[in-house]
Assembly symmetry: C2
Homo-oligomer: 432 residues x 2
Amino acid sequence: MSAAATPSFPHIVVVGAGFAGLNFCQKFPTDRARITVIDRQNHHLFQPLLYQVATAGLSAVDIAQPVRAILNNQANLEVLMAEVTAIDLAAKKVRHTAGELSYDYLVLGLGGVTSYFGHDEWAQFAPGLKSLDDALKIRRTILLAFERAETEADETRRQELMTIVVIGGGPTGVELAGAFAELTRTVLNQDFDRIDPTKARVLLIEGGPRVLGAFPPDLSASGQRQLERLGVEVRTGVHVTAIRQGELDAGGETIRAANIIWGAGIAAHPLTRTLGVELDQAGRVKILPDLSVPGYPDVFALGDMTVLTDAKGRVVPGLCPAAMQMGGHAAQVIGGEIAGGNHSPAQRAAYAYIDKGSMATIGRSSAVAVVGRLHFSGYPAWLAWLGIHLIFLIGFRNKISVLMQWTYSYLTYKRGARVITGMSGEKSAGSA
Amino acid sequence: MSAAATPSFPHIVVVGAGFAGLNFCQKFPTDRARITVIDRQNHHLFQPLLYQVATAGLSAVDIAQPVRAILNNQANLEVLMAEVTAIDLAAKKVRHTAGELSYDYLVLGLGGVTSYFGHDEWAQFAPGLKSLDDALKIRRTILLAFERAETEADETRRQELMTIVVIGGGPTGVELAGAFAELTRTVLNQDFDRIDPTKARVLLIEGGPRVLGAFPPDLSASGQRQLERLGVEVRTGVHVTAIRQGELDAGGETIRAANIIWGAGIAAHPLTRTLGVELDQAGRVKILPDLSVPGYPDVFALGDMTVLTDAKGRVVPGLCPAAMQMGGHAAQVIGGEIAGGNHSPAQRAAYAYIDKGSMATIGRSSAVAVVGRLHFSGYPAWLAWLGIHLIFLIGFRNKISVLMQWTYSYLTYKRGARVITGMSGEKSAGSA
């Protein structure tokens, strides 16, 4: 970062240092504008590995990198840690907890939040997984539940403490359920005397007819088989109708479980509702093919907070690669426009999603992947998953650290991060 | 750990899985008794490196290892995660949050807590450093203060946000002050645009005439020089008379600082006050030379919670090596007694502290060490410090991870762990 910014440069404000915002900054020609990146966290989070923090495989700092460190050497760029409180598209201003910014171009990468489909009261009983603090809370809850099971005399209560229910059979839910099955069967089983963690019950509940619904049916079937081999009970076509402290109603049955995790719904960041532009039901901004917000050619919205049918007629999926590509596309459009004088927005290039494939990991040597017409599952898919996540994990140190811990866990069936922190911050010592 | 314990074995309850308790378990002959270790945390904490977590050098899980994992393979031993609420020496019972234990022998390694010398109200303004949560809180506070300084328009307020005061010139205070000076001058200085973190003020306040008062005077002087070379303002012979939100009174002056850390006092765990035995002013149990508690030959107290003049007439220092040695000594005494029938306590061997030297690190290539009559400072002392801490850090994975991160930091002047977590748990966004 350079301290002195040329004042005559246009000013671009980037809200959110997720995959979209960060990739925009990294792809933008640094000599054409000054950029201010604003995020309420001081770190970029590598969300695809968040489930590994929740399941004690990685430590929090392994998958987080300070935004300032990532954008350290970029000229004409400033990082601001503050929370955006209001965006005024007409006045071209962004208000935040430490002041206000005016912009020439605005790039929004607000991301998503956990959605309980109108049942916000479920949040306290079934935490979602969107932030490091969420992941650390889930890790603490599960590890504490097993500690309590060890001293619990009542057989029924002990089984409840050793029951983990994951709601939602998408990639997040599948990855969590698989990792919990592995944690209990190959890691915790070495630790306890009185309880047998291999008897822990891990349930995955999905409302649709199959898990991994965005994947081809044969991979859904393979994914379910791999989960069941790890010991996960998979229930598809089952809807959750109520969640209370330590129990939930699903498919007409009441299931008691000390550990309930919500992996079912994602909505756009609530700030989208204040923009006064057209949204879909999940609060996502309906953007134009050039990725700008309708009516505001100088405002771009990217990644999970948007919904778009791209130049080739495909709905762009809410995945990291799409967010990164959108960041790159917006950088090209804005950079070109500043360099070449103002174009008309109608002349801008339309974004087309490049599908390099998608994958979900289930556990040790277990995964599914689709690349074009090729479907992989099991060991080859898992190796591919490993390599791709290491390549995209930002920061040299993190890559080495993660690689080392994965090697260690693979060889020893242990997990280093099963440390309980933050207990003093918990309101109650109850089983939630 | 084995699930079936022979019931005719005597039962030893070990309270606290610190250096003393853990070393007792590891040295005790496993075929002579069954052991129950109870700790309110699920992890053993490598306290000598806690300051590195507070200063963003290491991640929390690097210096913590689950107690169950450490004692995994030991026969006739059970680990219990619960908080001890009462100890009844007459009835030979330990009550805890999950029930009650009877013992034949009791081994207490309760450790210490931060002491504010009767000013407990200072705790909220100047946190101490005893647990992982303390360290994560200090890290969060400091990193947030610099983020706020970056957006602060008022020059005076900005300087306050960039002021760090460490109270107490013992090893902990010296290590913290040195690490903060390095953090600001060689790490954070690469991250910010508007503020210059090399202008951050780091103050070390010590009431006594010199820092590192337990070391020989020449090493105190060397330590102070090394601190000052890093940019720390050292004030000796200055007493803190009051601490309020964001400021303190010391030596007749009021110093405003957003970051105040208390490294001055340690007292024994408050449970010692409920035992009904003789204590010193800091609440430490005055134990007998065999390490048993006067009047209770079957109760041993070890480590920081005790005060003892040993067989050679020296006061045993409150250091890790002493705690580990005491654990080993108690294991030998109890193990021998069980094997050979009951001895009289008077016939037990007296403990003698083996002084292998002591050291304090100040920063990169800076440390002081004393080994017998040899005094080291600077680079040789630092290398020795590095090697010894790696040898004693428990757990293979942690050693590799710590070594890797130190190498990385040494070569790149970066620190990987400067990630702010736990903000949602903070009551206020104020500068404390």
